[in-house]
Amino acid sequence: MNINVNNYEEYLSCYVDGELDSAETRELMAFLEQHPSLEGALQQLESTKLDPEEKIVFPFKASLYHEADTKQPRLKRFYGIRWAAAAAVILLLAGIYFFRMRRSPVSENRPMPAYVMHKTPDAPGNVVPAPAISEKKSGPVPAHSQPAAVKPPKSLAAAAPVKPSPSNRSAGTSSVTPAPTPEPSPATIPIPELPEVKALPAVSGSVALTEASAALGEKPGRLAVRGPASEEVADQVGGRLASVTEKMAAGKKNLDQSITKGLSGLQAKTEDLMGHLEKKEIRIGRFTIAFNNE
């Protein structure tokens, strides 16, 4: 190794780079001592050194981890299911709520079993069909075959608490809603406690309104003109009420019949069994077991 004024810069660079071994370093230091004017050159070269402590943080480390990469989708899926379940429950509740909100209070009382009763083959033939909803401004239509239970429509309309509400629609509905519409459920209600079904007349909404407005001292014409929509609603309500009562009656009749049938069947079976017992034999299907006590 031979450091001289022509090649010393190269050695200085190597020294700054930390690439000189201890012997070379000693030699370079000795050379610089001999040439003190070159010390400045070393300092200048050293000033070009970059600071290794200078920090620049990579801001997306999370995207580089591979453990995290495999875990994250799992977590995401898991949360996805949870969110989906929560959303489904909320949607379901909201749906039920809106469905209930949309149904009128009367139609809510409509007994679902009545539909089944209607379809049974041995349903009584004397069920009178519900009055057509489109039947507007007609007189009261008897909804049930039991004429004794039919109330005059006038009294219902007169008794109906019609408030002088600005909304004719609400007046129309409130005139009918107070009518009792017990929900018959043949499966749960015990036989002797079946309520006496009273057929309510199908009230034409327009008639009810006319009566109500007359009672309030208003001109019937004004109300009728103002609220064609409410008339329709009242008609519908009246029609539904009639069909409800009719179906309730049909249901009760059905139930009575099946109970009677069942009872007579049971009695026949018991008698049969008693007869066999007297003969000291039991019949199971095609087999007959005879007892001999003696």
């Binding site: 660079s13 190597c14 070269l45 000033s47 070009t48 970059l50 290794p52 620049i56 995207s63 580089l64």
Partner: protein
């Protein structure tokens, strides 16, 4: 290298690699892409690589990605000559950066890479040669020229000030 060791590499070397790339490209998004693709390649080969070799591998891949990127964007000056118009860029904004950083920007991409691999990462000429595809004596000469350039820039700046 295990999965855990690979993630250790992320913790240990991601910042350094990013510093190395972003100072060269001077474009954060491009640098981020280069770092991410480099780590993807490291992940692909993590089974056959040892943890000890991971850093050099990462910087090798990163350097190549960076050079490829520069070639694509035609911003590279592989010859490493001092750009003629570089001094024209000097303006008020340069006062924000230190003279040293400005001096570093005067270098070519290769020279700058060598400087950073040497000073920031402390690699030897041999190791730098392995990363950049040069031999050790080339690295030594290139680095020497780079330091002289930087020194000249710094001295000139000091004289001006």
């Amino acid at each position: 290298m295990t999965e855990k060791e690979y993630n250790g590499c992320v913790d240990l070397f991601a910042d350094g690699l990013y510093r190395f790339i972003v100072k060269n490209l001077r474009h954060e998004e491009d640098a981020r892409d280069v770092v991410q693709s480099s780590f993807e390649i490291l992940w692909k080969h993590h089974v056959e690589l040892s943890f000890e070799k991971a850093k050099a591998y990462l910087f090798t891949v990163g350097y190549r990605n960076m050079i490829d990127h520069l070639r694509k964007t035609k911003r590279i000056n592989l010859v490493g000559e001092f750009p003629e118009d570089s001094q024209v860029k000097e303006g008020q904004q340069l006062h924000v950066k230190s003279t040293l950083m400005r001096a570093l920007e005067q270098l070519s991409e290769v020279q700058r890479s060598l400087m950073m691999l040497k000073d920031y990462e402390g690699y030897s000429y041999e190791e730098i040669g392995a990363i950049t595809g040069l031999n050790a004596s080339q690295v030594k000469v290139y680095l020497h020229r780079a330091r002289l350039k930087m020194k000249a820039y710094i001295v000139k700046k000091e004289n001006v000030l």
